[in-house]
Symmetry: C2
Subunit: 157 residues, 2 copies
DNA sequence: TCGATACAGTACTAAGATGGTACTGTTTCG
DNA sequence: CGAAACAGTACCATCTTAGTACTGTATCGA
């Protein structure tokens, strides 16, 4: 199914919470209790946000996480990348750990350009929503730029 | 991971193939061979497209599927709905077979409106791409309408 | 009439992803 | 020095996915 995983949900909520309390040191427990989420799950996603460079961490008693950047400089695409790692809606361009393409017929595939065009068009939508939009609670409706697929080369079959 | 499932990929390719051969009766085998895909998998998604009303089926010798509608009247959202069933990027509003909400704290959830706003904004992007766009190989870049979340009510936490 | 073709519907299984948790280690405060 | 809180890793039950198999039905043509 095409859906944002539950842990990614948690991560978006945590990011918004921290952005709304910018500059304040906030413990994972506080965020988990606010949203009625399991604490271990929230700590997991906060580690990912820290690893992605979105938030700073503070250990020890009274520690927690802080966000002090520009909410409008962070896109929904960035956030999902931090939480899920590199992602594509299609796997035409995906490679496994050995560097082999997941798609065995990749080079000869008549649909590769086509699928990659969809990928870029939809991922582009995720780049138009910023953390600031989420914090403000107003979110833009993505508009598709119909030149995206064509610019990837000739049309696919 | 946030990705279109492989079978849905197959379904999109099959829909494009049929739209490019509009009015012609095309067997599942022909589509599978063109894209180098397993025949049983392609027949599976074609059944879904037929069930969704996108294509007509013709049994017997020389049978197959035909598309004879308006490619620009079918959106990417419609196609995914046919192939994956009702879908949402978040599960705030999802109910199980017994009619119970998947989210146990749904009524009191401080993030429900927020997540549903994301859901509508991104799903809106899928409504801006049509089967005609896919057939022509030019695809729009979705543009987010930032009023979508706000219009769901007050801003969520 | 009969056989081959092709779709209709259902069900099964192996492989992979997901969600939640547990455990150990490290840092910081008082 | 003890408690609090993050860092990193690993585990496991559950769910989803992909692919296939099997039976049934409709159609064409010899």
């Amino acid at each position: 199914m095409l859906k944002i995983s539950r842990l990614t949900d948690y991560g978006l909520l945590a990011a918004v919470y921290l952005a709304r309390h910018a500059g304040q040191v906030t413990a994972a427990r506080e965020i988990a209790e606010f949203y009625h989420l399991p604490v271990p799950a929230v700590t997991k996603v906060l580690k990912a946000l820290h690893h992605g460079g979105l938030v700073h961490s503070h250990r020890g008693v009274g520690g927690g996480y802080t966000f002090d950047g520009d909410p409008d400089g962070i896109t929904l695409g960035h956030l999902i990348e931090m939480l899920e790692g590199p992602w594509d809606l299609v796997e035409c361009e995906t490679f496994d750990d050995d560097g082999h393409a997941t798609c065995a017929i990749r080079v000869a595939c008549p649909s590769r350009r086509f699928m990659f065009g969809i990928n870029r068009a939809i991922k582009g939508a995720f780049e138009q929503v910023t953390l600031g939009d989420l914090v403000r609670g107003g979110m833009p409706q993505p508009v598709i730029d119909k030149t995206q697929l064509a610019s990837s080369g000739e049309a696919a079959q």
